[in-house]
């Protein structure tokens, strides 16, 4: 709540603070559940419909429960050429992880991204907030094994 108050100071009106507030709620609740959206609406004194409308417009919010770690892997042109699709297949083979899905043990969730701005070092991914590039079949799992 204190954090939201701090954010509110930075915007001319309450609606401006909605995107960062949704990130806070997502962090606190794990995903944007009805409860989380309602909490955001209450915190900003906005109608729940406004909050839900904004939340469903942006691709980077989670609208279903996610695993402990979120893998955001790019398969856009540059990454695709450099073998990103093979990495997707490997994730499925190793962890049973489908794009948009979550592993059975709740460890990883996978979201396919449309370009994360790292074409020069393709293929690239984000794990939670960490950036990893120049991926290949070996280092992919070396990296992921650091996330339990």
């Amino acid at each position: 709540m204190e954090e939201i108050k701090e954010i509110l100071k930075r915007y001319p009106d309450r609606r401006g603070a909605l995107l960062p507030t949704l990130y806070i709620m997502q962090r606190e609740y794990g995903w944007l559940s009805q409860e989380a959206l309602q909490a955001a609406a209450d915190a900003l004194n906005l109608p729940p419909a406004t909050v839900k409308g904004v939340a469903t417009f942006y691709a980077m919010y989670r609208h279903k429960p996610m695993g402990r770690h979120l893998i955001q892997l790019c398969t856009n042109v540059a990454c695709m050429i450099m073998g990103a699709e093979r990495l997707v297949d490997l994730l499925k083979e190793r962890y049973g992880l489908e794009p948009g899905g979550t592993t059975e043990d709740g460890r990883f969730s996978l979201v396919i991204m449309e370009c994360i701005g790292a074409c020069d070092r393709a293929p690239a991914m984000l794990v939670d907030t960490d950036f990893h590039a120049d991926l290949n079949e070996q280092n992919l799992f070396e990296i992921l094994e650091q996330y339990k």
Binding site: Q34, N45, L46, P47, A49, G53, T56, F57
Partner: protein, 820 residues
């Protein structure tokens, strides 16, 4: 001023107008779907594209400002092609189910497709097959939606609600409440009027008529005193729906739920169809002839035996001025009595008295636009968006345009939620809040700034001495700092306004509140235009102005209803004192002690059930009439349907009764009556300012026995005791309830939805509890509309016109001993 050319026509326009606005003002047609005069430009539908010379691409007329020297073409082959393509793209998803769509014939998309050609799209995509979503009054058909967003924007920007929004993105976008739940909003229906296609519709109108068979008449709304123009759509002599039409009436197209859906009270099950006479204790059906002779004989007998002064009459704040004037004339000329009054006595009469005691004026018509452009607006303990919805909208509009909207109210009303500053004062402490502002203004030397010397300043200074910021903030229950900040902002503003309501249904404000507000404003050099107190109902002001009150020393409402035995006979026209007036027990006692009670009404009201004779009156729309709204504008409304059963317009019943009593009132038809009424004065008279201190404001006193304050009032979907006759409005809400704070619910062991017993020294009632954070600890809020709740039996009345907040005790009915 700027000058531009549209379609070869040289046009002058104000700077800042958009191309579309300029074109509209000059009767040049540019098609559009998503544009709405009341909303910010959106540029979503791309149909208003125009060519501007020198611009490479087509410009959206709704969001492009008109500029000096612009040369604009609105209808070129190129534009026609562009518009045709836009329509084709809209038709990719829009189903062509016009044969079963209620909108067909008045559908903007249908009209534009007709004009520009494409009946089908060259493109193909899977059509949506979402189920229709229904709710109490509004039907949503998501498949027909073209996502223009007018409903979303009117709901949020204009109404300040935000019940619906675009959910999702791209092809998957749909309009929905947040969690796809059933729509549960104010049901103002503004979205229905805004929808250009058949995606939103009024449920009561569904499958009722094809648009081209409807016959339309304009009328005036019978509910509150704003006096909105309603466009009634009829088929085969029956009103099927009501619309607001842009540009029409004081409301300029806006309507609230009562106006839009509440018209069907005239088709209510409880309508009276024949006269009723009490025989052997039962009310039995009778003929007009027999009944009128009976009434005439009884009135004559009572007059002979006890004198004319033993007979009284109560007029109606909902009947036309013609009806009320005729009642006055009947009482004066046939009976010879000045005992006549209306419900205005309990509320609006005190407003007028307070204005007279301060500004020296006889009346103070409000101005709907008054909040717009003010620096600070203070709304005091008044739920204006519920009681006077279209006036209430102006406060939201003012706020959107930069006004500092200050709301002092214990209830979290819509205005409180949308305010710049919400000061959650204790219930019924509004007067003290104002006295605190006066005290603060004097400390700041505000009274020295004005050159004009106003009579009574010393008395005022003396009277507010005890109301220091410290004391006041304690009494109203807010931080001293918060109070001082608000006071400073209000007192030091360049322009300001105070708005509140004082009505028969409300017990937390009164004479003293208006007095305090007027004193404060005079002290700051503000005239009566800065004090906006609207009258309650459609014709509260009209009944007052047409003389439906004692004018020659007769008995007023207090004397007639709260002094058992003061009358022998009472003639009640279109009023239900047993439900709408405080201290129901005393009213009931008074009525029961009468020798003869006549009730003339459109339905068998609670009061009518006690009557000796009940006369069926024609309702609004079944007769012509005139309401005077709170702006002082007399607005005639037409007869559009035939009266139910044998009911007759009120004024005609009185004319006929006078004839039976062998008196010619000189009025045989409405024209003659209106001629006499044209002499009504609606100006406010010469101002003569003087301060009139509030002696001792009523403060809500709780005791150990009665620890909680009950406040009564109107809610959004209802108005007085009339709206409960409307089936549509009852679909939204038909059950009495009391709002209680979560804290008190915990304290008294009350569960949401259970019946609780509320008692005051005057009586006890059982009502369903609704736990809600809209009200603070220590307060109950009860709507007054529902006869079966008998809330008015708990409330006391005050002959001094003071607020009479009611301390009560509550007990849960499920737990034997409430937790303390």
């Amino acid at each position: 001023m700027i000058e531009l050319t549209i379609d070869g026509k040289r046009i002058e326009a104000e700077k800042g107008m958009t191309i579309l606005e300029v074109a509209k003002a000059n009767n040049i047609y540019i098609p559009h779907l998503c544009w709405d005069r009341r909303l910010k430009p959106y540029g979503g539908c791309r149909l208003c594209l125009v060519e501007v010379e020198g611009q490479r691409k087509l410009m959206a007329a709704c969001s492009t400002p008109a500029d000096n020297g612009m040369v604009i073409h609105t209808d070129t082959p190129n534009l026609q092609k562009a518009r045709r393509t836009v329509l084709e793209l809209l038709l990719v998803h829009h189903p062509l189910d016009c044969p079963v769509c209620d909108k067909a014939g008045e559908c903007r998309l249908q009209d534009l497709a007709y004009k520009y050609g494409p009946s089908e799209s060259r493109f193909y995509a899977e059509r949506k097959h979402d189920p229709e979503a229904t709710s109490a009054l509004i039907e949503r058909n998501p498949n027909r939606c073209i996502l223009c967003g007018r409903c979303v924007r009117v709901c949020w920007e204009h109404q300040g609600v935000g019940a619906i929004n675009f959910i999702g993105r791209g092809f998957k976008t749909k309009i929905s409440p947040a969690f796809e739940e059933t729509l549960d909003c104010e049901f103002c229906g503004q979205c229905v009027d805004a929808c250009p296609v058949g995606a939103l519709g009024a449920k009561p109108y569904k499958y009722r008529a094809r648009a081209w068979f409807l016959e339309s008449h304009d009328s005036i709304c019978p509910y509150c005193s704003v006096g909105c123009t309603l466009t009634l759509d009829l088929r085969e002599g029956r009103i099927l729906r009501v619309r607001g039409v842009d540009g029409k009436g004081v409301n300029d197209g806006d309507l609230c739920g009562k106006g839009r859906f509440g018209f069907d009270f005239i088709y209510g099950d409880t309508r009276l169809k024949t006269p009723l006479v009490r025989k052997a204790g039962e009310l039995v059906e009778s003929t007009w002839e027999e009944t009128l002779y009976y009434v005439a004989n009884r009135l004559r007998d009572i007059k002979r035996q006890y004198g004319a002064d033993s007979i009284g009459a109560i007029g109606s704040a909902r009947a036309g001025i013609e009806d009320n004037y005729m009642l006055k004339k009947f009482m004066k000329e046939v009976i010879g009595s000045d005992n006549i009054d209306t419900s205005a006595r309990l509320g609006y009469a005190w407003v007028l008295r307070a204005l007279n005691d301060t500004y020296g004026i006889n009346q103070n018509p409000i101005k709907l636009d008054s909040p717009i452009g003010k620096e600070v607006v203070l709304v005091l303990e008044s739920d204006l968006t519920s009681t006077h919805p279209i006036f209430g909208l102006k406060f939201l509009e003012a706020k959107n345009e930069g006004t500092y909207l200050m709301v002092a109210d214990p209830r979290k009303t819509k205005l409180a939620r949308r305010s710049s500053k919400w000061i959650r004062i204790k219930p019924a402490s509004g007067t003290v809040f104002l006295l605190g502002l006066i005290n603060y203004a004097i400390r700041e030397g505000a009274h020295l700034r004005e050159e004009k010397e106003i009579e009574g300043i010393d008395g005022l200074i003396e009277s507010v001495k005890p109301y220091t910021p410290e004391k006041v903030s304690e009494l109203i229950g807010v931080d001293t700092e918060q109070f001082i900040e608000a006071a400073s902002r209000f007192v030091n503003a360049e322009t300001r306004l105070i708005a509140l309501t004082v009505g028969a249904a409300e017990n937390q404000k009164g004479y003293e509140t208006v007095l305090a507000a007027a004193n404060l404003l005079m002290l700051l050099g503000e005239g009566p235009d800065s004090l906006q107190v609207p009258s309650d109902y459609s014709n509260t002001l009209g009944a007052w102005l047409s003389g439906t009150r004692p004018t020659e020393g007769g008995k007023d409402l207090y004397e007639m209803l709260y002094n058992p035995g003061s009358l022998k006979a009472l003639y009640v026209m279109g009023e239900d004192p047993l439900v709408t007036m405080p201290d129901g027990n005393t009213v009931k006692k008074t009525l029961e002690e009468l020798e003869f009670l006549v009730v003339q009404d459109i339905r068998l009201s609670e009061t009518a059930k006690l009557a000796d004779v009940v006369l069926p009156a024609a309702a609004w729309s079944e007769k012509e009439g005139t309401f005077i709204n709170s702006q002082g504008i007399p607005q005639p409304f037409p007869k559009v349907v035939s009266p139910q059963g044998d009911s007759v317009p009120d004024w005609q019943i009185l004319r006929n009764l006078a004839r039976v009593m062998e008196h010619d009132l000189g009025i045989t038809e409405l024209g003659k009556l209106r001629e006499e009424l044209s002499r009504i004065q609606t100006d406010r008279g010469q101002q003569r300012w003087r301060f009139s201190p509030v002696e001792v404001p009523s403060v809500a006193q709780t005791t150990t026995d009665y620890p909680i304050i009950m406040v009564t009032g109107n809610i959004m979907q209802h108005s007085g005791a009339l709206s409960v006759m409307s089936k549509s409005l009852s679909h939204v809400l038909s059950d009495a309830f009391v709002q209680i704070s979560p804290e008190d619910a915990e304290r008294f062991g009350v569960k949401d939805g259970e019946f609780i017993k509320i008692s005051s020294p005057l009586g006890e009632v059982f009502i369903k509890a609704r736990v809600s954070d809209e009200i603070p600890e220590g307060m109950l809020f009860v709507p007054v509309h529902f006869a079966h709740a008998r809330v008015n039996y708990l409330v006391s009345h005050s002959r001094l016109g003071n607020a009479h907040p009611t301390p009560v005790k509550i007990e849960s009915t499920s737990t034997a001993t409430p937790r303390r």
